[in-house]
């Protein structure tokens, strides 16, 4: 389980997250909404452990351990992984090598790559000149090899074309054990219990909801997670009346 309690985060001298409480139970996937610049990426980077996001208060627990001060790679070892919005280019490191590094050993790179239609990119330097949509598939490929328990997806479907969106959506669903493969052999109830993977997905468009059945939706606004609701409802509400109105209305009801 991921548990965040009263988290405050500063970036430089700016307070970007004021008060965050969040619980993601094993098997659950949450969707994170919020306007541009509201701090969604910052929240993910803080969970991943990027030191420039300075935790000024509160704590982060994962699998019962306090990871608030833990180094990035220790969090990765514990089972946290991230699909980045804008990852850096690593010159001279082939994507193929990176997939092996993620798997911490030899892995069937070609067949993994085939699943996200990425075989042609394996011998290119990681992220070098990758288009927006290619970056998303590269990030997914790395997560497939890494197989973390908690996956943080930063706008995984933005910039992905119509043909690849289903591929990306279904891959994420599979990573999060939400692809129904478990349901084939057991009851829906049992499948839910068997599920262990956790997800936190940032989206603006909500397209990902067509492929991944999310358990909860959250809106990050003004440095706080303002409402918890069905992600479709949030999407509709924001679509109709905008973030400000939506946050006020839902909080009002609560």
């Amino acid at each position: 389980m991921l548990q965040i309690e009263d988290l405050k985060v500063r970036l430089g001298d700016k307070e970007i997250l004021k008060h965050i409480d969040l619980k993601i139970h094993p098997g659950e996937t949450h969707i994170l909404f919020g306007p541009n610049g509201s701090g969604k990426t910052s929240l993910l980077m803080t969970i991943m452990g990027y030191p420039q996001y300075e935790v000024a208060g509160g704590k982060i627990l994962f699998k019962g351990e306090d990871i608030t001060r833990m180094a990035i790679n220790e969090r990765a070892e514990l089972g946290i992984g991230m699909s980045y919005q804008r990852p850096p280019t690593i010159n001279g490191l082939k994507t193929r090598q990176m997939v092996n590094l993620c798997a911490q050993g030899e892995v069937a790179v070609e067949s993994l790559a085939r699943q996200v239609n990425f075989e042609a990119f394996l011998d290119r330097d990681l992220n070098a000149g990758f288009s927006g949509g290619e970056i998303k598939r590269s990030e997914l490929l790395q997560l497939m090899a890494q197989a973390p328990d908690l996956m943080l997806f930063d706008e995984p479907e933005s910039g992905v074309d119509m043909e690849n969106i289903a591929l990306v959506g279904n891959t994420i669903a599979a990573l999060l054990q939400k692809d129904g493969s478990a349901e084939e052999t057991t009851s829906k109830m049992q499948a839910k219990l068997n599920r262990t993977k956790m997800g936190l997905i940032i989206t603006h468009t909500g397209y990902i909801l067509d492929y991944v059945s999310a358990d909860k939706g959250q809106v990050l606004y003004d440095g706080m997670l303002s409402c918890v609701s069905n992600p479709r409802e949030i999407l509709n509400c924001v679509g109709e009346s905008g973030y400000e109105e939506c946050v006020r209305c839902i909080t009002g009801i609560n």
Partner: protein, 408 residues
């Protein structure tokens, strides 16, 4: 033809002439008296002590001579093994060639002036030996020829002169290394090299250096590339060296001739490197590229590059990237000189440290900070060299991997 007396006279006049660049070296500190190593037959090569074999291997010389088109091995001042094992390839010690090959006069000291500086003068006045490697017209070498200049005698000054000729339409690959015996500390290597790439010939020359910490090294080389020819020159030096200065020059003297230089340098504390290259583009269709990747761990590195475009319709690019890992200095000096309208020349130079963002990215995939750093450094050093045969690529990768262990 050449006249050794005249050359000696000219050289004598330049005995004390300091080099235009690089710190001066006092030649009286070194001993250039001939050593007395005996010639080794093929089977004897493999009986060299393991420690020596390993040093040689690091410099790209495989004593088993597997997948090699020929071998030249010089120890201190003596040629201890020399033979070609491929049709169309000649490997001859230069002292022998000067006696027996009438054509050598067309090449010996024809690209470099013997009175350039005290080092060229020393190479003539106290010539020990060196290799002549020639690919006959139309010959295509499958395997590279390996040449190694090995130093064992403490405080030696080794003077060599090499001539490399790729005749018309030939293809020649050479891997050459310089290495010192494990126990050796101090010495001076002076090496003159003249490269002739004739019409439509392809020459790749990959040089891997493994010096002792207190070595001084002064190579002097010039290449001449004719129409349609390609000269690909790779230089790898990952081990400490007291002082190394070289500034190889290439003249593209025919249409569509191409020269590409790649160097990969790691500078350790106490080491001084002043290197780079200069390429003259004199004919339409000429292409030149100089790529340098340098890392300083506390060493002092000057990376030069000079491209001179004398004709329209030439293209040249210079890329000089330096990484400061643990102090030291990297001084990039890229120079572009366009002499007429219609030249296309560019450069890109950057000196800095590893981006924290890249380290963090790899750490989030489970790598420790040290592993992430090593991975990025390895990537930085792994340059794609188009046209390099896979075996030579493997040699370069091996040299980089070996040095990884020392670097971190």
């Amino acid at each position: 033809m050449y006249n050794r007396d005249q050359l000696a006279k000219k050289a004598n006049a330049a005995r004390r002439k300091q080099s235009a660049i690089g710190p001066d070296i006092d030649l009286t500190e070194f001993d250039d008296a001939p050593s007395q190593h005996s010639y080794l037959a093929e089977e004897d090569l493999c009986s060299l002590p393991m420690a020596d074999q390993n040093q040689l291997l690091m410099a790209g010389l495989d004593v088993r001579e597997e997948e090699r088109g020929g071998t030249y091995l010089q120890k201190d001042t003596d040629v201890i093994h020399c033979h070609a094992q491929q049709e169309g390839i000649e490997v001859i010690p230069i002292k022998k060639a000067l006696e027996t090959e009438p054509w050598i006069g067309d090449y010996y000291w024809k690209l470099i002036d013997v009175d350039t500086d005290k080092y060229t003068a020393a190479a003539e006045l106290g010539l020990h030996d060196g290799y002549v490697i020639r690919a006959l017209p139309g010959s295509r070498s499958i395997y590279p020829v390996q040449a190694c200049l090995y130093l064992e005698k403490e405080n030696i000054q080794q003077n060599v002169h090499n001539i490399i000729i790729a005749e018309e339409d030939s293809e020649l690959h050479i891997i050459t290394g310089c290495a010192t015996a494990p126990h050796m500390k101090k010495g001076l290597h002076v090496g003159v090299s003249e490269f002739y790439v004739k019409k439509n010939a392809r020459l790749t020359f990959t040089m891997i250096h493994n010096w002792a910490e207190d070595m001084a090294v002064r190579p002097r080389s010039v290449a001449r590339v004719e129409a349609g020819g390609l000269f690909l020159n790779n230089y790898i030096c990952m081990k400490p060296v007291r002082s190394l200065q070289m500034y190889p020059t290439t003249h593209l003297v025919g249409e569509n001739a191409v020269a590409r230089f790649y160097s990969i340098i790691v500078g350790s504390p106490g080491s001084y490197y002043d290197l780079g290259g200069r390429i003259f583009l004199k004919h339409p269709g000429n292409r030149a590229e100089i790529v340098a990747r340098t890392i300083s761990n506390g060493g002092d590195i000057i990376a030069r590059g000079h491209l001179i475009g004398e004709e329209p319709d030439i293209k040249a690019h210079l890329e000089c990237r330096g990484l400061l890992l643990k102090g030291g200095r990297i001084h990039a000096i890229p120079e572009l000189e366009g002499l007429v309208d219609g030249v296309e020349m560019s450069h890109e130079a950057a000196v800095g440290k590893i981006a924290q963002e890249e380290i963090a990215y790899l750490m989030s995939r489970g790598l420790s900070e040290d592993e992430a750093t090593a991975t990025i450094v390895r990537g930085f050093l792994s340059v794609d060299i188009p046209g390099l045969p896979p075996q030579l690529k493997a040699e370069i990768d091996k040299a980089i991997e070996e040095s990884d262990k020392d670097m971190m």
